[in-house]
Symmetry: C2
Subunit: 249 residues, 2 copies
DNA sequence: TTGCGCTGGTGTAAAATACACACTAATTTC
DNA sequence: GAAATTAGTGTGTATTTTACACCAGCGCAA
């Protein structure tokens, strides 16, 4: 095994945007930095990639140390490698996002985890390094992915109501959806299993509970089925047009 | 400036899938390796990222050394970091693809370029390292990107006929498109400038020449216009269904 | 100069889909 | 048992997508 000249080497890390969904809000798990640089500021959880560790493995490790969760949805998004993105030297980072059920999440004993906290995506302003940019990029990617793959369920408990699912989509897509159309669309895909159970302990008509039928999805997928759940461009276009017209009087 | 422990460092490269379009085929520029490992095999052009060089800059450098072209469409796709992807040590690589007009391409004097050659995507089988996987990933990404952004024009000469454009899309999407519908759709976007010129030197009725109107696109984009040029999923689904039915008789 | 070969160019009708929209049903709480 | 709250449901219309076939214009060769 030949060693490459040190000249060509650089430090590299993974950073993980861990999304959760709670109280109707899309949230991200951030860590308060306890050391320079950016001491005291919030940052994305991340760490160096070990020399004998695959990239995805590193991202999973960061995730597990922090949340105790394994087998979580994880998607590589983009690599950020601006020369000056780290004040102490050249550090290239591979950004991932992952989707966790906050209900499954347990604070881990690892010292790093004690400084972790969920933040609503909408309220995050400043972050250490270029992490604000990374977060935005990952959020965009999530917005996109969720419309083409049935990954939204990763953020909900195993059983959920259609209204919860709709609220999840509304939070991610930052838009409002029509209830009847949403239900029609999602049910017509045949990927939701009606559990013949209803909500308990709510002060109103209880909703039916559903489960995502992953096996069925995999079967459908093999037959060329495409999941698609998105706001039509027609509506979007009209909204934009309206806004422009209002802006110009 | 603190140095990170060498333990966390590793070699870092960019690999570039350079797409071109010629004779109705989508092609990729490959290099015949002149050294170990994989000596004599075809590989994607790539090189180490210099310590003081942004990632995108490195990808552009590789591209320019090889083709002499600047200001070319370039898109970061994915980072490949399996521990054993390079037999001589840990090398993480960021994959890009770029789109060049083969007509602009001139063989460069750089020694590396002398071993370069265009290969039709469809006919590439084995490549050095994990480059076959990288190529496939980039090809998928191109397929996707081309439907949502007007980047196909980057592969054509500045002036082109609608038939050429259609053939380009057919080559990338690996499908056939309906002539009338294609023309209707692309013209209705209003992004093509009719040059009031016609083909010369063809042994049949000459076609009108068009140019992509980038300025107009940018203006439209600011108003929320979305480029979209894709095979409908309905047709796809039907085709797949038909194929399945035939397969099962 | 005529006819053949080739590619360019065009419209319409039918089907599928996206959209907007409002009331009744079931449950808890007071 | 009335009030409050959320669940659940169907239809008509606008728009988009799809399928489909013929005539036009040019070069070339007979």
């Amino acid at each position: 095994m030949t060693e490459f000249d040190n000249f060509f080497k650089s430090a590299f890390t993974v950073d993980n945007v861990i999304f959760g969904f709670d109280e109707g809000d899309l949230k991200v798990l951030l860590i308060k930095r306890g050391e320079a640089p950016y001491m005291g500021q919030w940052a994305l959880p991340g760490y160096f990639v070990y020399p004998n560790e695959d990239l995805d493995a590193a991202a999973n490790r960061v995730l597990e140390e922090l949340t105790g969760l394994r087998n979580v949805y994880l998607e590589q998004v983009k690599t950020f490698g601006a020369v000056d993105r780290h004040p102490f030297g050249r550090v290239i980072t591979v950004a991932y996002f992952s989707l966790v059920k906050i209900s499954d999440y347990r604070l881990q004993p690892a010292s790093i985890a004690r400084k972790a906290q969920w933040h609503p995506v909408a309220q995050i302003s400043e972050l250490a390094f270029d992490h604000a940019e990374i977060l935005q990029t990952c959020f965009q990617r999530l917005k996109n992915s969720v419309q083409w793959r049935p990954i939204g369920f990763e953020l909900l408990p195993p059983q959920f109501t259609l209204t919860e699912l709709q609220h999840l989509y509304e939070a991610i897509l930052e838009t409002e959806l029509d209830k009847r159309n949403f239900r029609k669309k999602i049910l017509s895909m045949g990927l939701l299993l009606d559990l013949d159970q209803i909500q308990e302990g709510v002060a109103h008509r209880p909703a039916k509970l559903y489960r995502f039928d992953r096996e069925k999805y995999l079967r459908f997928q093999a037959e060329g089925f495409h999941f698609e759940l998105k706001e039509g461009k027609r509506k979007e276009a009209r909204q934009r047009k309206k806004m422009l017209e209002e802006a110009w009087g």
